[in-house]
């Protein structure tokens, strides 16, 4: 049975991709040092989370059948410390949480596996636009203002609002996941305020996960890059006209990866997405409620809960993604067209190369299936056709035979 499980259940957009990449790339090193990060593929914990919560995810869920039970079995089989990390676990219901914890060996009376719950949290001023952008990168066609209306609905009756608060409302996430875990085993890692040193967040993760002093290779680049205002608007427009024609299996590599991540995220000079200034007061008030609640619960905080107070947006600097600057959108669209053309050309080259190889293989297959006598005859004909005398001899033969053997 596993002695200790570090269960990182959220939240999205808090540097989780980087953390998971470090853990995945160093899983062999970690194991040698007694820490188990059970994953054969980078998204293994994501698939396990989909399985646990029975969530569809653009067809990926088809690869998730039985993934949670496999992950839990792997954790139980490791006698030391294991780490599980995926941010969408934040939205699990109490029933799903109970199933997950039980499968990891946790017991409500404290006699089972020592489960530590870790939640990384960032201020809502940055999280709200980031979540809308994430929706846009997952085919959403609704605007930012509609998104804001949906998350403002106190009933959370729309799936967008339900999802947003499900993965972002830190006090509720901890109440759902931590109902049977002592507060000293619940750790909140706060994302530093904007402008802080880049490695502070990693240091906080390292402390929370007990990785300090372990020999790890850092410096990976995997991240979930963000888009500016015109780039987000462009992807939303693409979703409106093309998403229905692009099944997820094509949308993911072409729109999300090629256009959003590899092309448009490099345009860093455009206006950045931000919270509308008129939304700040209620967000600030809510944040104070969160801080009071989290403080009262006595959770272990790695960082400072004051980090959750986001900077007040400056009205003059705010750019509305629902009414973007059309020149900037056009410029972004040109970059997108260029990227698609280059991609199409590269694919054409690859297609041609594969077609040539296929043709070569076909010829070899025919050659292998052609009897030796036939091959000798073909060789003789080719040789004879190479000289004047040979062609005459062939002509005489064909005349004597009464028909053109080449068409035989």
């Amino acid at each position: 049975m596993s002695q200790r499980v570090l269960l990182h259940v959220g939240t999205p957009k808090t540097g989780t991709s980087y953390l998971q990449d470090v853990l995945f790339r160093n899983r062999a090193r970690l194991l040698k040092q007694g820490v188990n990060y059970p994953a054969e593929r980078f998204d293994e914990h994501f698939l396990a989370a989909l399985d646990l919560m029975r969530l569809r995810w653009g067809g990926l869920e088809q690869e998730a059948v039985g993934a949670w039970d496999q992950l839990a079995a792997n954790v139980r089989a490791h006698p030391g410390t294991s780490i599980i990390s995926h941010e969408i676990l934040a939205t699990a219901s109490r029933t799903q949480v109970a199933r997950a914890l039980a499968s990891l060996g946790h017991k409500d009376d404290g006699t089972g596996t020592e489960v530590h719950l870790i939640v990384s949290a960032r201020d809502l001023v940055r999280q709200i636009p980031a979540e809308w952008q994430e929706n846009v990168k997952h085919r959403a066609a609704f605007g930012f203002s509609r998104f804001l209306r949906l998350i403002h609905d106190p009933e959370r009756s729309h799936r967008v609002g339900a999802w947003f608060w499900g993965v972002q409302e830190v006090p509720d996430i901890l109440a759902r996941w931590g109902a049977s875990i002592p507060p000293e085993r619940i750790h909140i890692v706060t994302v530093p305020r904007p402008g802080g040193a880049r490695d502070v967040l990693w240091q906080r993760f390292s402390t929370a996960f007990g990785l300090d002093g372990l020999d790890l290779e850092l410096g990976t680049e995997r991240a979930n890059p963000s888009l500016g205002v015109p780039e987000s608007a462009l992807i939303r427009r693409i979703n409106r006209v093309a998403a229905v024609d692009l099944p997820p299996v094509h949308y993911r590599p072409l729109v999300r990866e090629l256009l959003a991540h590899r092309t448009l995220s490099k345009r860093t000079d455009s206006p950045r997405l931000g919270l509308p200034p008129d939304q700040y007061p209620w967000i600030a008030e809510l944040t104070e409620d969160w801080i009071a609640e989290l403080t009262s619960k006595g959770y272990d905080v790695v960082g400072d809960l004051a980090d959750l107070r986001g900077d007040e947006p400056v009205a003059e600097k705010w750019s509305n993604p629902d009414r973007p600057n059309e020149r900037q959108v056009s410029a972004a669209a040109l970059d997108a067209v260029k990227a698609l053309l280059v991609e199409a050309a590269e694919r054409q080259v690859e297609n041609d190369r594969l077609r040539a190889r296929l043709e070569e293989a076909r010829r070899e297959l025919i050659r292998a299936r052609t009897p030796r006598l036939m091959r000798s005859m073909e060789w003789t004909v080719q040789k004879l056709e190479g000289s004047e005398q040979g062609r005459k001899a062939l002509g005489a033969y064909r005349m004597a035979r009464g028909r053109n053997s080449r068409s035989a």
Partner: protein, 382 residues
């Protein structure tokens, strides 16, 4: 009065078959109970169990305790709100989902729980091997040498059923240089078949969203694009070997069978239930097994149920008419032989009130499947 104890009392009573609504239960003097699980079940689960008790009572039955416990411990499947707290429980949490009255919940919330449970039942049937076909059945399926060479193409939902029916009569598709018979119908029906096939195959959007998506994009879904299917068949089998079928009896006569077997007739609500069950089922079985499992369980159980057939709402009448005209024009221009009247491709006037899936009806079907779950064929036989 403790709200928590009151909630446990109600949950205990529901386990015993009670049908009292939550608001009435709150007024009862003897309404408290003791916990029988680690957390109070969500409002969706409690609301569903009460509706199940009502449905069972209407048939003079009682929900077995094992089924009641399954419902109470179930997860809410798919995206949306998680387990909702009950209104009237102690001081509600300051954070998280707002408490609700389970009897005032939209039926969609109850269907989310029911769909997960039905998916479990359907997935359980996958563990059992298919019953072996008898020698007579196998002999019947052997292709007769004198049978005309043919293949059946068209909207998958109908084509699969017709093909299977022909195989059962010894008319196995195939043979040398076959004729491809493209099963066609009026475009509204073909669209409904396409959505039905998708419901069994991969789930997907609701019927109006399905129509809206393709109407906005200005083209037909691939599963309903008859000219495209005809072109594809002509590439594969030769342009002179494709025939469009708009008269089933004519095809039956041409193939020498009495009639063509039609797919199960699932009403609008039944198809929508299949679509919703397919979603959580996708997390329980491999994708290639899902359509077959759904067809052999829900497809058979819901045959003839679920209200009238789907229809296209009048909102999309212009788009439907344009696409039907295009379909007719392209098929006529390609010169394929037609069994029947090509004008049958054109939809008639659309009804003032369209037939759409209704959550209440979908839930009623789901309750039936919870009371009498689908069982593996072998179990049924024993």
């Amino acid at each position: 009065m403790s709200g928590q104890r009151r909630a446990w009392g109600w949950a205990t009573a529901l386990r015993g078959g009670d049908t009292t609504p939550w608001q009435d239960w709150l007024d009862r003097a003897d309404g408290d109970g003791s916990p029988f699980a680690s957390t109070v079940p969500g409002a969706q689960q409690l609301g569903l169990l009460r509706r199940l008790n009502v449905a069972a009572a209407a048939e003079g039955r009682k929900v077995p305790e094992a089924i009641a416990d399954r419902v109470l411990s179930a997860s809410v499947s798919g995206r949306g709100r998680g387990d909702l707290p009950l209104i009237g429980e102690d001081t509600p949490d300051r954070f998280g989902l707002r408490p609700v009255d389970p009897d005032a919940l939209p039926e969609d919330e109850l269907i989310r729980v029911a769909a997960g449970l039905i998916a479990d039942d359907v997935a359980a049937t996958a563990a059992f091997p298919e019953p072996e076909r008898s020698l007579v059945e196998r002999a019947r399926e052997v292709r007769r040498p004198w049978v005309k060479s043919f293949v059946i193409v068209g909207a998958q939902w109908r084509a699969d059923a017709v093909r299977a029916g022909l195989v059962a009569q010894g008319h196995r598709p195939g043979g040398r240089r076959p004729t491809a018979y493209l099963l066609a119908d009026d475009l509204g029906t073909v669209l409904a078949q396409a959505w039905t096939a998708r419901a069994f195959d991969q789930g997907g959007p609701q019927w109006p969203d399905f129509l809206n998506g393709f109407a906005s994009a200005g083209h037909l879904p691939p599963r309903a694009d008859l000219p495209r299917m005809a072109r594809s068949a002509s590439h594969k089998y030769g342009a002179d070997r494709v025939a469009v079928v708009l008269d089933s009896a004519a095809l039956a006569a041409e193939l020498g069978v009495r009639h063509l077997v039609q797919p199960p007739r699932l009403g609008a609500h039944a198809v929508d239930l299949v679509r919703r069950v397919g979603e959580p089922l996708g997390l329980l079985v491999a994708p290639d097994r899902r359509p077959h499992l759904l067809r052999t369980t829900l497809g058979e159980r819901l045959d003839g149920l679920g209200g009238p057939d789907l229809t296209v709402p009048r909102r999309w009448e212009t788009w439907l008419g344009t696409q039907a005209e295009r379909t007719r024009h392209e098929i006529a221009a390609a010169g394929y032989p037609v069994l029947g009247d090509l004008d049958r491709l054109l939809p008639g006037p659309l009804a003032q009130s369209p037939v759409l899936p209704v959550d209440g009806e979908v839930l009623a079907l789901a309750l039936g499947l919870l009371l009498d779950p689908v069982v593996p064929p072998l179990k049924e036989a024993s």
